[in-house]
Each structure stands twice: as C-alpha cells, then as structure tokens.
C-alpha cells in the first residue's frame, strides 16, 4: 500500500490541496494556510524517514530507483521545505500585507521535483524533474511583484535556467547519439571497458555545463548574486540549499559513481572538475569578501562552498563522493539557520544590509550567538560541523596528490574566515549602535538559532554521524558498480 504514498506523490497532493484551499475555502480556514503548509511538510518529512516510504510505485521503476543516495537526500529536500515554509509563512510583501496562499503552496512542487531528481535513473526523468523544479522557482523568485529586484531575479533565473536546460538537453541528445541510451545503468554498461566515444565526451561536457549553472560553478555563476539578492528570502534559501544540492546529486550520480566516473571518461573530466573547483572556490571567496549585503554575501559564499564540493568530486574514488554528501548536509545545517535569521532581519528592517547588524550582539544576544555559530560553521572552524567536512575535502585532495588544488583550498579556507567574521564583527564591535531603532526579534528565533547553533557544535564534535550518513548514501551502490575499472 505504501508504494502509492511516496513523498513525491504526497508533496504534489499537498501542493494542489493548499492551492484549492486557498482559492475555495472560507477566509477563516484560509488564514490557517501557513499552519497547514507547515504541518503537511513536517508530516511528509517524518514519513520520508520511514523505510517503507522508500518503496516506489512499480510503474516508476524504469525511470526511478530507490537507493542510498535518494534515501539520504529526500529528507534533505523535505527539511529544506519545512524551513522554507516556516520562513515563507512569516514573510510579508509589505508591512502588513500577508503573502498569498500560493507562496506557501508553490514550494511543494519544486520539492517534489527534487525528490524525483534524487531517485532519477534516466536522463528523461532528470529532465522532467528539473523542469518541474525550475518553473516553480521562476514563479517564486519573481513573487514579490512590486519590487523590481524580485522581477529581475525571476527574469534572470528564467533566462539562465533556460540556457542551462539548453546545455543539458543538447548534452542528452549527444549522449543518445553516442551511446544509444539515456539510462544511467545502461550507459555505465555501455561505457565500461571501452575507449571514450567522442560523442559521449561532448555530451558529458555539455551536461557538466548544464549542471554548472544549477550549482553556480564558475563560469556559470553570474546569475546567483543578483537572483539571491532580489528573490524573496525564503526563495533565496531554497535556491541556496535545495537547488544547489540537486545539482550535486546529479554530479554525484554521473561524475561520482556513474558512467562519467569511469576511467575512460574520468581521465578527461577529473582535471576539468578540479579546474572548475579551483576557479569556483577562488572567485566565490574573493568576491564574497567585500560584500555588504548579507544575501549577496551568502550567494558568493555559496559559490565558494560549491567549489569545495567540486574539488572533492574531482578526486578519485569513494572518499570524494561521501565527502560531497556530508558537505551538503553540513552546508544545510549551517546555512538554513543563517537564512532564517536574515529573513527575520529583513522583516524587521526592510533590507538585508549588514549595517542592520550593528550592535546586534548586545540587543539580541541569543539569536546573535546562534547566527555567529552557524556562520563560523560555514567558515569551517572547529568545533563546528563545517570543520570535519572541510577537513575531508582537504584530506581527499591530499590523498589524490592534487597539490595545487590543495594549496588553493587551504588559502581560500583561510580567506573565507574573513567573509564570515565581517558580519560577526559588525554584530559585536558596534560602531554606531545607538542609531539603531529598538526593534525586537520574535522570541521563537532565540530558541531556533540557539538550538541550531548547538546542533552545529554537537555534530562538529561527533563527526562520526556524518561519516555514517555518507556511508549510507553509498550503500547499496548501483549494482553496476562492480564493473568499474
């Protein structure tokens, strides 16, 4: 029975249901939509943790697979959805104007798409899932129609998303021409023990470019800062965490454990990945340093994080794959609370400029402490969870003997501390703190920020938990793994 209640189906039903309630139900119930959305997303998250939710409907099986990777990442996307729904339910378009119900219903659809993507075993499924994600996100990014920056974000996302889809489709076409299949496992069988087919190489390059847009890797990153800044903050959170992770799942499936990881293709693409990683880390870190707007800062820091993960992926072997999985979870745990904080900051002050943080350490000690811990976790400082994953990236690079990449990663990890210390400095060093109006955060933020900050500390001291998670995501490996090498 449970096979008809996979999270994807429930998400779609919930999304449609919320829209129906929003347009048909009486005002009394409509006002409860935030609560309904939050409860349904939470319910689906809990359900996705049960093993029986992982059984897929039999008719899906030729396009989708339920394996370790999907089991680890469906809860990831659903957790994002819960947090984003929570943020969205507090979001205001103007001082006293509540958002409409579809702002809460819409995130359910890209989440369904992302869950499908996590399970996809065929490029056709990947394409459909990605389109579902992209189209919903265009709508969400442009949701704040009165604000030109939001519209600009929507358009930019649309154009860049179209371009990325173009690359991807072109790549799939070349792949079909070169290998005669679009299914991952058949592709692996086709490619195993064979010289690299030029068509397959071109395809892999095009697909890499397409995914590069999704994860905002240099040189496909230019959209990210403007879109992050312009989009409503809950949507920024979704883009920064869920959408980026989706790109990495595809990278993992193809370049980590799939056909493009085979020596015949990998020998071409590992250097490319490392180069991309070096460029992405460097540009993201250096461009983040002078930012004064927190959302732009996070956009560039997100680019830098993507670079670290690409570097891990560019090293050979399973260590790199597990590292990316653990890194994504650590990134989620650190950046979602940061975005939640920024959302509240924007609600209070109307913008996300860093000057609003002035004197925050004294006015709001609890949330400031949690914010500080999460930022330091992003900086990769022990004893926070960002540290073991950065350690793993460096260890993989050392193990693979990639000295230039290692040196760049170390330098950028140090420079990266500067990114995250800047808001901390503004919060605690107080220059013109007296000029700040005494607006208070809602009380829930204290507990949420402190709890997530402490979670970051606890996981940083217990890195084994992340290691287990990474091991689980690779277990079972696709059956065809045995034929590698």
């Amino acid at each position: 029975m449970s096979k008809w209640f996979s999270p994807e189906i429930l998400l779609t039903l919930a999304g449609v249901g919320l829209i129906l309630v929003d347009s048909l139900a009486p005002e009394r119930i409509r006002r409860r939509i935030p609560l309904l959305a939050l409860l349904s997303s939470l319910g689906i998250l809990v359900w996705s943790l049960c093993p029986s939710s992982r059984v897929l409907p039999p008719s899906w099986l030729h396009l989708f697979v339920s394996d370790g990777l999907s089991a680890v990442f469906k809860p990831f996307f659903l957790l994002c959805l819960v947090v984003v729904t929570g943020m969205a339910s507090r979001y205001r378009l103007a001082a006293d104007e509540m958002v409409r119900g579809e702002f809460l219903a819409l995130p359910f659809f890209p989440t369904a798409g992302l869950c499908l993507l996590a399970s996809a075993r065929d490029f056709l499924a990947v394409f459909v899932a990605l389109e579902l994600v992209s189209i919903s996100l265009y709508l969400l990014a442009a949701f704040h129609r009165a604000k030109p920056a939001s519209l600009e974000a929507g358009i930019k996302l649309l154009v860049m998303g179209g371009l990325s889809t173009g690359f991807l489709v072109m790549g799939i076409a070349w792949l079909y021409a070169g290998a005669g299949t679009t299914e991952f496992s058949k592709l692996l069988l086709f490619q195993a023990g064979q010289e690299a087919n030029p068509a397959v190489l071109v395809a892999a390059g095009l697909i890499l470019a397409g995914i590069g847009f999704k994860v905002a890797a240099v040189p496909f990153h230019a959209w990210a800062p403007d879109v992050y800044e312009g989009a409503p903050t809950p949507v920024t959170a979704y883009l920064a965490v869920a959408s980026k992770a989706a790109g990495f799942i595809l990278l993992l499936r193809l370049f980590g454990i799939g056909a493009f990881a085979l020596e015949s293709v990998g020998v071409f693409f590992r250097p490319i990945l490392l180069t991309l990683g070096i460029a992405t880390v460097t540009l993201g870190t250096l461009a983040a340093l002078p930012q004064r707007d927190l959302k732009r800062l996070l956009a560039y820091s997100g680019i830098a994080h993507a670079g670290f993960m690409i570097l891990a992926l560019g090293t050979r072997g399973e260590g790199g794959i597990g590292t990316v999985v653990a890194y994504l979870w650590a990134y989620l745990l650190a950046s979602l609370p940061v975005l939640l904080f920024i959302n509240e900051l924007e609600l209070l002050h109307g913008s996300t400029d860093m000057r609003h943080l002035d004197g925050m350490g004294r006015r709001e000690p609890g949330p400031s402490l949690g914010f500080t811990l999460c930022l330091l976790s992003m900086a990769g400082l022990p004893p926070l969870v960002g540290f073991p994953v950065k350690l793993a990236v460096l260890a993989n690079l050392w193990n693979a003997g990639e000295t230039p990449a290692l040196v760049v990663a170390v330098i950028m990890a140090v420079a990266g501390l500067g990114i995250y210390l800047t808001p901390i400095r503004v919060m605690y060093w107080e220059r013109e703190a007296d000029a700040i109006p005494a607006k208070r955060f809602p009380p829930f933020l204290i507990w949420v920020m402190l709890a997530t900050g402490l979670l970051n500390v606890w996981l940083g001291l217990q890195p084994q938990i992340l290691v287990r998670l990474a091991e689980k995501s690779l277990n079972p490996l696709p059956a065809t793994e045995a034929i590698r090498e």
């Binding site: 260590g319 597990g322 350490g361 004294r362 000690p365 402490l369 500080t372 330091l376 400082l381 022990p382 004893p383 540290f387 073991p388 350690l391 793993a392 460096l394 260890a395 050392w398 193990n399 290692l406 170390v410 990890a413 140090v414 420079a415 501390l417 500067g418 210390l421 901390i424 400095r425 605690y428 060093w429 940083g460 001291l461 890195p463 084994q464 290691v467 091991e471």
Partner: protein, 489 residues
C-alpha cells in the same frame, strides 16, 4: 568515584561558567569561581599522574576500522601536567586581574573563559582531531577580545592576528592530514599514543618525514610566532586587553610548542632532525632580529610583545637540541615564559589603566608613585632577562647546556639574546622608575595596587615563577619519562 572523571570535569567547569554568565550570573565572580573550582579536579588529576604517570578518560583506543577514527579521549601525563597547571594558574590570574568598569562585562568574561577552555582542551586531548579543534575554539574569542576591548589599532591587530593564526592552523591541519594518510590504511589512528608507537616501530620514509616536518614547523611555528611568521604577535599583544594578552602569550602560544613536542618530535623524528638547520636559522632570526627590534620600542606593551616573541627562539633551540636536558629545558622555559609573559602583560595593563599611557618616556617616577606595581614590573623584567631564581633562568640554562654539543653557535646567539633582552628590559625599567615624575604619573588619581584584592594575581604569578625557578624539578620531573621516550631511539 573514578578519578578519570576529573579530566572532563576540568573542561566542564569553565563551560558551566560560560553558560551561567550567559544566563545572567555575575560575570567576574562566576568566572573567578569557575577558575578557582577548576583547581580541585586539577589537584586530583595531578595526584594520579604523579603516582602512576598517566590518567586517561574515554573509550579504549581499539583500532576499529573506521574511515574517520576520531575519538574523544582525554589524557594527562607528565608533559601535559605542566601545561595544565600553567593554564590553570594563568587563567586564574588573568581573570583575577581584569578590573571593574569594562564595557559589556558578560561577553568579556565569556571570551576569557573560552580561551582558557580551548587551551585546557588542547592540552588534555589525546586525539589529534580534538587537539586541533580545541585550539581553534580560542580563535574567535581572541578576535572579539582584541577587536572589542583592545587599544590602539585594535581592528587591524585583530584581523591580522586571527587570519594569521587561521593560516597557521590550516597549514598545520594539512600537515596532520598528511601524517594521518601516510600511515598504512590498517594502522590509521588519530590517537597520538598509537601514532607515536606505530611510527616508532615503522618509521615513515625520509622524504615523507621531511615534507611533513616542514608543514608541521610552518603550522605550529606560525602559532608560536617563529620568524618569519611572527608579525601578528607584537602588535596583536600590544593591542589586546591585558587579560587576553596574558592568556594568549602565556598559554595559548605554548600550544604550538607543545604540539611540536607531541607530534613532530616523536612522529617524524628523522624529518625533524633533517630540518633542524632551518629551525636553527629561523630561531636565530627570532632571537637577533626580534631582540634588536625590541630595543627600538618606545611603548611598553610593544616591548613586551616583541620580547615575548623573541624568547620563543630559545625554546626552539631546546627542541632541536636532541638531548633530554635540552627538551626538559624547553618545557621548563615554556612554563617560565608563560608565567613571566602573563605577569608582564598584567603589569603593563595595570600601568596603562592607571596612568592612561604605556609610553615609557611618559612613565618616569613610577617607582615612587606606585611601588608595588613597580615591584612586580621588576620581577617580570628580571624573569624575562633570566635572573637566577626565577623560572626562565632554569629553562634557559638547561637549554644552553643541552644544546652545546649539537649547536654551539646557536647557543652563542642565544646568549646574545639574553644580553639584548637585558638591555631592552633594563632600559624600560630605568625609564619608568627614575628621573623626574612625569605628568601622567603625577596626575591626580594614580594609585598603587591596593590590598590583597588587587595584588593576589600578581603575587600568584610571582610565587609560581619563584617555585619553578628554585625547584625546576616540579616541571621537568614528571615530564622526564615522557621526554625520555622521545629521545631514546
């Protein structure tokens, strides 16, 4: 009750203090209470170590085949014992010497306790993952302390210090990763006891050892302000508020030296010997270059900053001596320098708080106006010069004797260092003591240290300096078996 629980207690007590202050307990009283209370588990743990040589807390290091074998193990042996006590005493004195009337007291004492906690954790950790992590805990409190409560160019100093220390830490981290991955896959461990034993039985190839030793030297060396990675130190200490400078120069900096003794010496011994000529060159830089630079200082806090970085050179000489005597001297000097630097910065902090300046030429006549402060100033200066009877002398003389056969030239350099240090310190003492009373000192409201309430942190550090100076055995006695294992092949 198992006495091994005293080790987590040593870390838990400051942590509870931090939480209590955050929740609204009186900042100074709580911080002080936590530091005093911490002496009890300290005493209990020391008793066990002195009797049986070692105390451990945590899971047994069964070499389970794990991808990432980090385990939270705390341990105390003769070597970490002296570091533990250095930390406990200096933390106590630093918190005791912090005065009323600071802005945002809560955060101030939380940061101080966190620096102490980081140092305690690092010295008690047996697992390299936690060893490294705990040291980093102190990074952000230092940044905030210098930036929020510092003097002069506090912002620049805080940034320089933090990014420099982070860079050193990352190089160190790469070195530790390399060490971990250089082990055969079946023997991988992060426990330094296991690592030392394994690597003693099956040493790494010379090339690997060489590379790792250089990484560890740069990493740890940056944290210890080894020339040319020192430029964060003098300015940083000059700008830091006195208790922060006491804790950092006195305790946290010793983490780098402790790390070299714990990691580099036993795990890559041949590599360390290979690069000892590089270390020799750099430490000569520390002694001569920073010694000469300290002669040029006009500000007492800057002078202390330079002289504190300079004396690290002598400790490095002990580390490359390759003899038990040299190593024992290095450990003794680490303790001595920690105490004397803390005393120096505490006195400097008091002087500038009371007179509003730390420019030496503006402080003439201090001896007449504030005789007690003056007394402790002289003690700090004499300890730093290496007057017999104070801890630094014991350490230095052991290092000189221990290194004579291997590095006679460097011993000569180090002896010149003593001269330079004496000139700089005596000039400072003279400028501040005699001559006509300067307006800053003569000003209304400049008072001496008053009663036991204000003097005890100074007295505590002075007594500790005297104790180690007269009976250096208290430091190197317990450490001896640990060091012996490192020296004998």
């Amino acid at each position: 009750m198992s006495l091994s629980l005293t080790l987590p207690a040593i870390l838990l007590i400051p942590l509870i203090g931090v939480v209590a202050i955050a929740l609204g307990a009186k900042p100074k009283a709580t911080a002080l209470g936590a530091s005093v209370l911490n002496l009890i588990p300290g005493f209990l743990a020391s008793g066990v170590v002195l009797r049986s040589g070692e105390l451990l807390f945590g899971p047994d290091p069964i070499p389970a085949r794990e991808v990432f074998p980090a385990k939270f193990i705390l341990g105390l042996d003769g070597l970490s014992l002296s570091m533990l006590w250095l930390t406990l005493i200096v933390t106590l004195a630093a918190i005791g010497s912090a005065r009323k009337g600071i802005k945002r007291e809560k955060e101030y004492y939380i940061c101080l306790l966190l620096i102490g906690l980081g140092a305690l954790g690092a010295f008690l950790s047996v697992d390299l993952f936690y060893f490294f992590s705990f040291h980093e805990v102190a990074l952000i409190p230092t940044f905030l302390l210098v930036g929020m409560w510092g003097h002069g160019d506090r912002s620049g100093a805080a940034w320089r210090m933090t990014l420099y220390l982070m860079l050193g830490s990352m190089v160190l981290l790469v070195g530790l990763i390399g060490l971990f991955l250089a082990m055969p896959e079946t023997a991988r461990s992060l426990d330094w006891r296991v690592l030392s034993e394994t690597l003693k039985a099956n040493p790494l190839s010379l090339g690997t050892q060489h590379g790792l030793a250089i990484l560890l030297l740069i990493g740890f060396g940056t944290l210890v302000s080894l020339v040319p990675f020192h430029s964060w130190a003098p300015g940083g200490y000059a700008s830091a508020p006195a208790p922060a400078a006491m804790l950092h120069a006195g305790v946290l900096k010793k983490f780098g030296l402790y790390g070299l003794i714990r990691v580099a010496l036993p795990m890559v011994p041949d590599g360390w010997k290979e690069i000892s000529w590089i270390v020799g060159l750099l430490l000569a830089g520390n002694i001569l270059y920073l010694g000469l630079a300290s002669l040029q200082q006009r500000d007492f806090r800057w002078l202390l900053g330079f002289s504190s970085a300079m004396h690290m050179g002598t400790v490095f000489l002990g580390l490359i001596s390759g003899t038990l005597l040299g190593l024992a001297g290095a450990v003794t000097l680490m303790v001595g320098h920690g105490l004397s630097a803390a005393l120096g910065f505490a006195v400097a902090g008091e002087i500038s708080r009371r007179t509003g300046t730390s420019w030496m030429r503006d402080l003439g006549g201090l001896a007449k106006r504030t005789p007690q402060l003056w007394f402790y100033l002289v003690i700090a200066a004499m300890a730093s010069i290496g007057l017999p009877g104070l801890a630094n002398f014991a350490g230095e003389i052991m290092i000189f004797f221990g290194s004579w056969t291997a590095h006679p030239l460097l011993v000569g350099v180090a002896a010149w260092g003593v001269v330079l240090s004496a000139v700089a310190m005596l000039r400072a003492v003279r400028a501040m003591a005699f001559g006509p009373m300067s307006p800053a000192v003569e000003a209304e409201g400049v008072t001496d240290l008053h009663g036991l309430r204000e003097t005890w942190p100074f007295a505590l550090l002075t007594l500790a300096l005297l104790l180690v100076g007269v009976i250096p055995l208290v430091v190197y006695g317990p450490a001896r078996p640990v060091l012996e294992r490192m020296v004998t092949p």
